[in-house]
């Protein structure tokens, strides 16, 4: 369909935002004196700021785009990514793991691994992490450039390079502090930019209750396997089995694969988020950072998943004149298709459909084309109406376009600029988060550790800056790679599965069992990553062809959905890593004395004493309260 032309008010809002973001970078640049200021913020930031940055770094474009897409595909069950797949792990990080990260004085997660185990583990982890951040950043950038291309008709390449350029400027100027500060600004921008879209969407579908009624109709109409609550309940469709929910997963895959392995692997060991907490000004602030972050995380489903559900509910109301957007098709192709329909006669529908398919490069619904041609031959339709008819007849849905289609539908000029700026903000926060994590790990854990040890601090300060530029360059390459995939969320989950799933086993054993050895951890981690790669090569999801989606060696197992494949892959990788680490640790001799492990392992570290804090400020108390609220949410939407 037509792209939107922004008015001056929209551009003003967009420019104001970019100006403030760059202004923060410039203001902070005069405080950047050492590599530690640039790469770790010299541990000086208050809790509420690190907390919101923690959540904002995670809230990349893939969250807004991917979660709305998942909301449309899977309904409220997508909230499992929050209430099962995030909150418990965030609380665990705050209460049990932060004392080791922050207390050990490590500058990064790989550095903690070096202290706890040895160089090999650090090397493996830092390389894997560096690759992963680049991919995550690339996926996020690709999503943004695609959106700008679809919404505004901007050139994909120009959008990609300009937006990356803005992130580069403010990260290069103000380092991690700049990234963290702008992430807080971005957090509010995202929430305040999208809240009105959700509000208007809900109003349009007649409120929460009526949205659910529409979704129940859709569920029953979609498949006879689905109960009416397939889109509107979180747990019941899962308990009914993989064939009875649109995710195609069972409860065990959600609880163990997502809730335990993927979730703890991401939130507790991913330096991208952990780095925000490590920048806090003291131990209490560091521990409370994930807890502050857990509050908005818990309510985000209403901001990011509900739009997808609204979109599906709209499709069930013909009067609303809405469909899940088809893949983007160039105007020239629509023009060709319109020309075909205009000259077509109802008698020869098969040829018309074939010609329209060819013009668009996409399959269309023959019945809808027949109706369109008939209508046009009875009374001549305007070109715009024919084009609209063709738009509605394209078979394929592009779920990633859902959020954008709602923004288009509900936002007048002004609000449109705000919502668009929010999208831009989500992209930038995700990208800046990845780039600042990447430059720290690369500079300290790869460059300083192996390539150029024992140089002056100003040397590493400059290395950090150059790494930032290189990181953004590589992300742009990764973005072009990511443009080959349809659902960004799935590919990210896959990468997390390869890298993060085994990692949590290493941390769990390393932090809580002093007998874990460096050799055990290294081989276990290596085995876990190799295991997940092998698992991916031997399994496939229903409907996919062997290749990049898996099964390229041989298909031993077919899963009902890609998501199920990802969750089981994670569970498998974790189990391999856990078992290998355990067995090899028992068979090898520990190189570290108890004294060396003090502050790194649970049983050898004096417990953090919270007596100086009032009862309600203690992480354990706050964590328990949050866990209870999370449980209540699960029950309410059961």
């Amino acid at each position: 369909m037509q792209t939107i032309h922004l008015q001056w008010i929209d551009y003003t809002i967009l420019i104001a935002y970019v100006a403030f973001v760059l202004g923060i970078g410039w203001t902070l640049s005069r405080y950047m004196k050492t590599s530690s200021d640039f790469l770790t913020s010299a541990r000086s930031i208050p809790t509420w700021v690190t907390g919101l940055a923690f959540i904002s770094a995670n809230l990349g474009a893939l969250e807004l785009v991917g979660m709305a897409a998942s909301g449309a595909k899977y309904g409220i069950a997508t909230a499992h990514f929050y209430w099962v797949g995030a909150i418990p792990a965030m609380i665990f990080l705050a209460v049990f793991m932060m004392p080791f990260y922050y207390g050990s004085k490590a500058r990064s997660v790989p550095e903690y691994l070096k202290m706890r185990f040895d160089e090999r583990v650090r090397f493996l982890n830092s390389v894997a992490f560096a690759i992963m951040t680049i991919f995550a950043s690339g996926v996020s950038m690709n999503a943004l450039a695609k959106l700008l291309n679809q919404l505004l008709g901007w050139n994909y390449n120009a959008a990609l390079w300009i937006c990356s350029g803005v992130v580069l400027l403010y990260v290069l100027k103000g380092g991690l502090t700049s990234a963290i500060y702008t992430e807080v600004l971005q957090f509010f921008m995202i929430v305040l930019g999208f809240a009105p879209v959700v509000y208007l969407g809900l109003k349009d579908v007649g409120g929460w209750h009526s949205m659910n009624t529409s979704l129940q109709g859709v569920a029953v109409a979609t498949s006879t396997n689905y109960a009416a609550n397939a889109w509107t309940s979180t747990w019941q469709p899962l308990l009914a089995g993989p064939a009875h929910n649109p995710m195609g997963v069972d409860w065990f895959a959600i609880v163990f694969g997502l809730g335990f392995v993927l979730s703890f692997g991401y939130w507790c060991t991913n330096f991208l988020v952990v780095q925000r907490a490590m920048a806090a000004k003291n131990m209490t602030a560091a521990r409370n950072t994930p807890l502050v972050a857990a509050v908005p995380k818990m309510v985000f489903p209403f901001l990011v998943i509900v739009p997808g559900m609204i979109a599906v509910a709209l499709t069930a109301n013909p009067g609303k004149d809405y469909r899940i957007p088809p893949p983007v098709i160039a105007q020239a192709n629509y023009d060709q298709a319109v020309a075909v329909v205009k000259t077509a006669t109802p008698a020869d529908n098969a040829a018309t459909v074939a010609a329209v398919d060819k013009a668009l490069g996409k399959d269309v619904n023959p019945d809808k084309i027949a109706a369109l041609v008939t209508a046009n031959s009875t009374a001549k339709l305007a070109d715009a109406d024919i084009e609209k008819g063709i738009y509605f007849s394209v078979k394929e849905n592009d779920y990633d376009g859902v959020i954008l289609s709602l923004v288009k539908k509900y936002c007048p000029p002004g609000l449109l600029g705000l919502a668009l700026t929010a999208l831009l903000a989500s992209f930038m926060s995700g990208m800046a988060g990845n780039v600042t994590a990447f430059n720290t790990v690369f500079t300290y854990d790869l460059y300083q550790a192996y390539l150029a040890p024992a140089k002056s601090d100003s040397h590493y300060f400059w290395a950090g800056k150059i790494t930032t530029i290189a990181g953004i360059g590589l992300s742009i390459l990764a973005a072009y790679f990511a443009s080959m995939y349809n659902n960004a969320m799935d590919i990210i989950q896959l990468v997390f599965g390869f890298v993060n799933a085994p990692l949590f086993a290493t941390f769990l054993l390393g932090m809580f069992w002093k007998r874990t050895t460096g050799t055990g951890a290294f081989l276990g981690l290596f085995g876990g990553i190799a295991g997940s790669t092998l698992f991916h090569a031997l399994t496939i999801a229903q409907g996919n062809l062997p290749g990049v989606k898996g099964g390229y060696i041989k298909v031993l197992e077919t899963f009902p959905s890609e998501m199920a494949q990802n969750f089981w892959l994670a569970a498998f990788a974790f189990t391999v890593c856990f078992t290998l680490t355990l067995v090899i640790s028992l068979a090898t001799k520990s190189m570290k004395t108890d004294a060396e492990l003090r502050g790194l392992v649970y049983s050898l570290t004096p417990k953090t004493v919270d007596h100086n804090l009032s009862f309600w400020q203690r992480p354990a108390v706050l964590g328990t309260i949050l866990l209870i609220i999370c449980l209540i949410l699960n029950v309410v939407f059961f």
Binding site: A16, Y17, F20, V49, F188, L192, L200, G414, L415
Partner: protein
Amino acid sequence: MGLDIRWPIGLMFTLIGVLLAVFGAVKASDSVSLDININLVWGIVLLVFGVFMLLGAISGKKNPPSA
């Protein structure tokens, strides 16, 4: 670090809030979505949020946080 983040947040949302609300008031016919002048309403919401942040920044300057 020497910058209170509430300043830029407050200033930005105050500015955008005023812009949006004025646009909504002046060009009311362009600002309606589902019978609501959403630009005016949301502009005021942003303005209130921005001022709230600025007040926080001002009081933070008077009483710098101890730890």
